[in-house]
């Protein structure tokens, strides 16, 4: 998101907030009710439009239109797969609008039409030069868009019918969709596969296949969207997913503040905010607005003033090869460590602030991670929503399985080792399927395992806390410095794609 886009979103949200505040003071309550009904539609429309607006351009013809459309299609498909069978008695229950245990077909149709209408409207800007274009390049022909929308709708209906049938078939459907999302994710994160996908799309578009590059496939927010969808499918498979209307579901998955850099919210938490907002609570609105603006300002300062300045001198593959002195190599590494944190947490602040302006409390993603005295606490405060996701959908199921069926003969420490190593390696390759990201994950896994064993040893030897306050403070400061430097050194793997260059930089950092 650029600064201008953030300002436009914030001004839009503030205008809505001001109107909602005015509505709250209106005597009859009709405007208040209108504001309450309008808000979810506004959030949906803004999110769908933002999906196209924030998508970066790609050299493949019309791809910057089709990628957001594919996001919407995938989202609708997953929603259809998570539908609960309608009760045999049929009919609409009185509480359905407020808490749709089973989505109302009429509301679903209206939502689908609104989404399709927005997409068609965006596509039609191709014909109006003065308005063209919300997308980075001219959208495709409206006929092609119509065919795509109808095909998507047909697929969703088919999947919804399949989902309404027996439970075993629903489980297969969930598994198939999870596999599809993981396959897409892997294809987008593995450079040769991404380049192959680009070549395929270029051949469809009648463009030069020889110029295909992994950089052609910049799918806005897919890393986050895929993980939200997998979370929904897994929770659906385990029966923990609440019933969501299409409108709620799409808004949750593509909520615009969290499109570009997360956080990865949970559907049941998000929908509570979506349903619970009350235009009449003036004090709560004022607090939301004040807090939202505060977070946006903090985020803008972190990202655009500090992180972008640090980016000028942050470690990168070029300057890593040029740096001549160990001391300055450390400076570049520190600059990278703080740049990464401030950039990412700045974006998170902006996302949380924009969410607050709409009355949505997105989860925190960072909690002073560089001030943590051990690596376990670091990972409880760095990219928290991603770490929680992996904890919930990989680490916990895997270790549970290893303790029981799969590896009953393994010692607890072996189970922890396997769980931590695979989890961290997966978190690594979430950023890209390359050796350096995998090594970064393994580096952290080694650190986490070492900390786990150290803690177990300290517990078994009954090492207590230092007797004096000053010793405790000194020990805490030492631990913070140690943890920070372990994390900072880990960024060497993260930032340098060539393992040999990373090893050379380690040698340089330690005076080699």
């Amino acid at each position: 998101m650029s600064l201008a886009q953030i300002v436009i979103f914030a001004v839009g949200a503030l205008l809505f907030g001001a109107l909602a505040a005015l509505a709250a003071r209106e005597a009859t309550g009709r405007l208040r009710s209108l504001a309450r009904r309008l808000r979810p539609w506004l959030m949906l429309s803004a999110s769908v439009a933002a999906l196209y607006w924030l998508q970066s351009s790609t050299p493949i013809r019309h791809l910057d239109f089709w990628l957001p459309t594919a996001t919407l299609g995938l989202t609708a498909l997953v929603w259809a797969a998570t539908l609960k069978p309608r009760p045999a008695t049929g009919g609409r229950r009185p509480d359905q609008a407020a808490n749709p245990a089973t989505p109302d077909p009429r509301a679903t149709a209206i939502t689908a039409l609104v989404i399709a209408g927005i997409v068609a409207l965006i596509a039609s800007t191709r014909y109006v030069d003065a308005l063209c274009c919300l997308t980075p390049s001219r959208p495709p022909d409206i006929g092609a868009v119509g065919v795509a929308l109808l095909t998507g709708a047909g697929l969703c209906v088919t999947v919804a019918r399949l989902a309404a049938q027996v439970a075993t078939r629903r489980a297969w459907l969930d598994a198939a969709l999870v596999t599809l999302l993981i396959a897409l994710f892997a294809a987008l994160k593995t450079e040769p596969l991404t380049a192959g996908l680009s070549a395929l799309l270029r051949s469809f578009a009648g463009q030069s296949v020889g110029q295909a590059s992994a950089l052609d496939m910049r799918w806005l927010g897919f890393s986050y969207i895929a993980f939200r969808l997998i979370h929904v499918l897994r929770d659906h498979a385990t029966g923990r997913l609440p019933a969501l209307s299409l409108r709620e579901f799409v808004t949750y998955v593509v909520f615009f503040p969290a499109l570009t850099a997360g956080p990865i919210d949970r559907a049941e938490r998000f929908v509570k905010d979506l349903r619970g907002w009350d235009a009449g609570s003036d004090a709560a609105r004022a607090e939301d607005v004040a807090e939202g603006l505060r977070r946006i300002l903090i985020g803008v300062f972190k990202k655009f003033a500090v992180a972008d300045t640090l980016a000028l001198i942050a470690l990168n593959p070029v300057n890593a090869a040029q740096v001549q002195w160990a001391g300055w190599a450390w400076v570049l590494l520190y600059a990278y460590a703080f740049r990464l944190y401030l950039d990412f947490s700045g974006y998170t602040d902006i996302a949380i602030g924009l969410g607050r302006l709409f009355g949505v409390r997105l989860p925190e993603n960072f909690d002073r991670p560089y001030l943590r005295p051990n690596l376990t606490m670091f990972w409880n405060s760095w990219h928290m929503t991603l770490a929680n996701w992996f904890r919930a959908y990989w680490f916990n199921p895997l270790t549970r399985w290893l303790r029981t069926a799969g590896g009953a003969s393994l010692s607890p420490s072996a189970i922890i080792f396997i769980g931590q190593t695979t989890t961290m390696a997966l978190i690594g390759v979430w950023h890209g399927v390359t050796w350096n990201y995998a090594l970064w994950g393994v580096w952290h896994a080694a650190g986490l395992f070492a900390h786990n064993r150290w803690t177990a040893l300290a517990r078994s030897r009954q090492w207590g806390a230092p007797a004096s306050k000053w010793r405790a403070l000194a020990l805490n400061a030492f631990n913070i410095a140690l943890t920070f430097h372990f994390v900072a050194l880990g960024w060497v793997w993260f930032v340098l794609p060539d393992v040999g260059q990373a090893l050379a930089l380690f040698a340089r950092l330690f005076g080699g």
Partner: protein, 372 residues
């Protein structure tokens, strides 16, 4: 937080924003801010003035804040050491060292061989060259450099830096319009102080918002100091096309046509102003080496820049002017062989730069100019 306090905060923020912007426009603090520098304190000073169109590759950037430029230079490191014979080199990109590493520039080559003057002082040259040819830009930099107590100024010029019509094309001159106007007035230069190329920022352009780019440049210059210190790199070194040897059959020089180049076409008054500005500090004017082509149409032109008729007459004018004015003048136009030029007819290779340094160094030592 209540709605009322939110509004109060918003109103205070807007008021503060307006006050800060108005104060910024009224006080113009950028020159003062430019003087505050991390160079020569946290980072080593740069051996040449900041300049680059590719900051992310050069760890350097072009800006218009003279205070910031000089504060980043090693010349601002501290008081002049005792026993130093301080030589300031001013001129264009050939002096600055385009495509040359810091250790290969003219100043660095002059310093590489420890040159001791008869009175025991050690010659120490400082590179104050700055790309793009204009003697008015040189005069502006010289005025700023006088505070660093030079013992000798070596001013390298070439015909391209002298056409009167081109003097105000330089962004440094355009963005320091007040200082240029003062020079025009003080030394009665034949330049138009109301020339529209001299920028007159409006009130809004002088506010913090209007000056944000210039402020950001000063900050970025400081930040790039870390990479300068870490890598020793201050320039991008792209692959380049060698300077043209085969030339167009064109005998024009800018808007001038043969056969006569008049002294009035050249900004010789700027050179005279330089001498006045330097006072009793001697100036050695050097006609810098140019590429002398032997390729196609070399009977018409010496190189891409110069038709023979114009350049030959320029040399005669310069020699005559130097003699009449009593300037110390060194004409080194044909010193460097064709093979020792890089991408332009004035940019030298390290070998060419060494040759020039040896000649200028010898000239300084053979008759070290004392204070006049």
């Amino acid at each position: 937080m209540t709605g009322v306090s939110t509004w109060r905060i918003a109103i205070k923020a807007v008021l503060l924003f307006v006050v800060v912007n108005v104060m910024f426009a009224l006080t113009d603090p950028l020159p003062t801010i430019g003087s505050l520098s991390a160079y020569n304190a946290v980072f080593p000073g740069r051996p040449r003035l900041p300049y680059s169109d590719f900051p992310d590759r050069a760890y350097n950037l072009s800006l218009h804040n003279l205070n910031a430029m000089f504060a980043a230079h090693e010349i601002a490191a501290g008081p002049k050491p005792a026993g130093e014979y301080r030589v300031l080199l001013i001129g264009d990109s050939s002096v600055w060292g385009f495509l040359l590493k810091p250790e290969d520039t003219l100043a660095a080559q002059l310093n590489a061989t420890q040159r001791i003057l008869p009175d025991g002082r050690r010659l120490r040259a400082y590179n104050l060259g700055y790309p793009i040819m204009s003697v008015t830009k040189d005069l502006l930099l010289l005025q700023h450099a006088m505070r660093y107590e030079p013992d000798l100024i070596v001013w390298l010029v070439t015909l391209e830096s002298l056409p009167a019509s081109r003097q105000l094309l330089h962004p440094i001159a355009q963005n320091n319009a007040g200082a240029v106007r003062a020079l025009i007035a003080d030394y009665r230069l034949s330049l138009d102080p109301s020339d529209p190329r001299l920028l007159n920022p409006s009130f809004l352009e002088r506010t913090l918002i209007g000056q944000r780019r210039n402020l950001a440049d000063v900050i970025r210059l400081q930040v790039y100091g870390a990479l300068w210190a870490a890598t020793g790199i201050d320039q991008d070194y792209p692959d380049y096309e060698p300077a043209a040897i085969d030339l167009e059959a064109d005998d024009s020089f800018h808007d001038l046509k043969p056969p006569v180049l008049r002294a009035e076409d050249l900004a010789l008054d700027v050179l005279r102003a330089g001498h006045q500005l330097a006072g009793d500090i001697p100036i050695l004017i050097v006609n810098e080496p140019i590429l002398i082509s032997t390729g196609r149409n070399s009977d018409i032109r010496y190189n891409f820049f110069y038709p023979r008729w114009a350049y030959d007459q320029y040399r005669v004018i310069m020699a005559g002017q130097a003699q009449r004015q009593g300037w110390r003048y060194l004409d080194l136009w044909d010193l460097v062989p064709m093979s020792e030029f890089t991408n332009s007819a004035v940019h030298l290779t390290p070998g060419g730069s060494r040759l020039l340094a040896d000649t200028i160094g010898a000239a300084i030592l053979s008759a070290p100019p004392g204070r006049r």
